[in-house]
Symmetry: C2
Subunit: 224 residues, 2 copies
Amino acid sequence: MPRSQPPAAERDGLLATRGERKQRTREALLDAALRLMAEGRSFTSLGLREITREAGVVPTSFYRHFRDLDELGLALVDDGAGTLRRLLREARARGGDYEDLLRRSVAIYRDYVREHRLAFLFVASERSGGSPLIRAAIRTEVSHFASELAQDLRRLNLLPHLSTATLVMVCGLVVDTMLNAAGLLLDLPESPSRQEEELLETFVRQLRLIFLGAAAWRDDQKRS
Amino acid sequence: MPRSQPPAAERDGLLATRGERKQRTREALLDAALRLMAEGRSFTSLGLREITREAGVVPTSFYRHFRDLDELGLALVDDGAGTLRRLLREARARGGDYEDLLRRSVAIYRDYVREHRLAFLFVASERSGGSPLIRAAIRTEVSHFASELAQDLRRLNLLPHLSTATLVMVCGLVVDTMLNAAGLLLDLPESPSRQEEELLETFVRQLRLIFLGAAAWRDDQKRS
DNA sequence: AGAATGAGTCAACAACTGTTCACCGAAAAC
DNA sequence: GTTTTCGGTGAACAGTTGTTGACTCATTCT
């Protein structure tokens, strides 16, 4: 018997160095987990065997890459955080007035969420559910993301009258609204639709409301 | 052998009519599911046997109350929705200016979330994770809640210059922010703490920002 | 009184779970 | 060219899972 089944790492393309192949099956495991979650399951409901099966690998192989499922989950958080960071980098620094900026940013965001469906699905749905460990890790990353967004707004000289603390608070609200919208978007069919338009319109209006509030904000206010 | 173990319905208090006892074990099952989720698990990760074990009932008893786990999940959504409705009823119609109203409402909300820990835990964490069926049901209820809140604001004559559609949009944002805050609150130890104070302060500021934006909103605006 | 109902029980089922251990064989290190 | 490393394998383990069907026996209905 020459070979019962080729390992996942060899499936596409020719062989490579050992480390590369290891990383490829590692990614196969991460991807398998995300794919399973895309069928309407939460991370804590995934089983080790299930994941390895989906990845096309024998169960025991799992331990060559992760101590347990939590470790795999944290790796997913890292990947998701990277995806968020790239979003910020791609959407950065475009001209136009507030309204145009907003609409275009939302359009960019919509495309980005579609393109990285699985990553957003993971972040948006494990952000407040399931494993406390993973939840905490996600919240740390999301709050970093909010801070970076705040720095960006500073650099663009938007809302210059706000203190840093307030700006971060505003960005926290913006990011929550973004992730919430991502969760709603992901429940729609992939193709554009009437519902999606409405959803995005509400999203734009909510962001506009937030920035309107931020513009009216006075850091020393205690009265209406 | 007289009796191996008394059923959960008899555990506390004396016996009652049959229907009452049935409902009591039904609630034992619902409660058991919530308690298990409180240990850092998502709903989709719960097993039927696990739930019945926690409820102090034999596995087969489950089928006397629910066809499957989804049905139990939907029952949990109903309960959670009821809890939300009661919140609105309790927090209704108090005087004072905007700022006081806001701070007091947040304090009421904090107490309410603490008092109904498990219900909020379920709603806040399954709102965007796990089973699509349950997620959809929760979103329907949450959006109803937002509409009721909008009606309340109308009745109190707050933000009278906004169209109904806009008011609902604003309330949607408020409710999302509330549930998000609930999720964060529930991750803290039950007793008051420094962190909790900060979290609530941010929560107040975010709501203030939203209402500030709502006050500045003009329904026909297209320019900044 | 007697019959019907139905919530809860018990035993059994095939299927699946996470983890262990020894083993293979190609790539890497010497 | 020999040895070491190590990612992937296969068999086996004790436990758990969802679901079935036949069985109690107190409450309810007649």
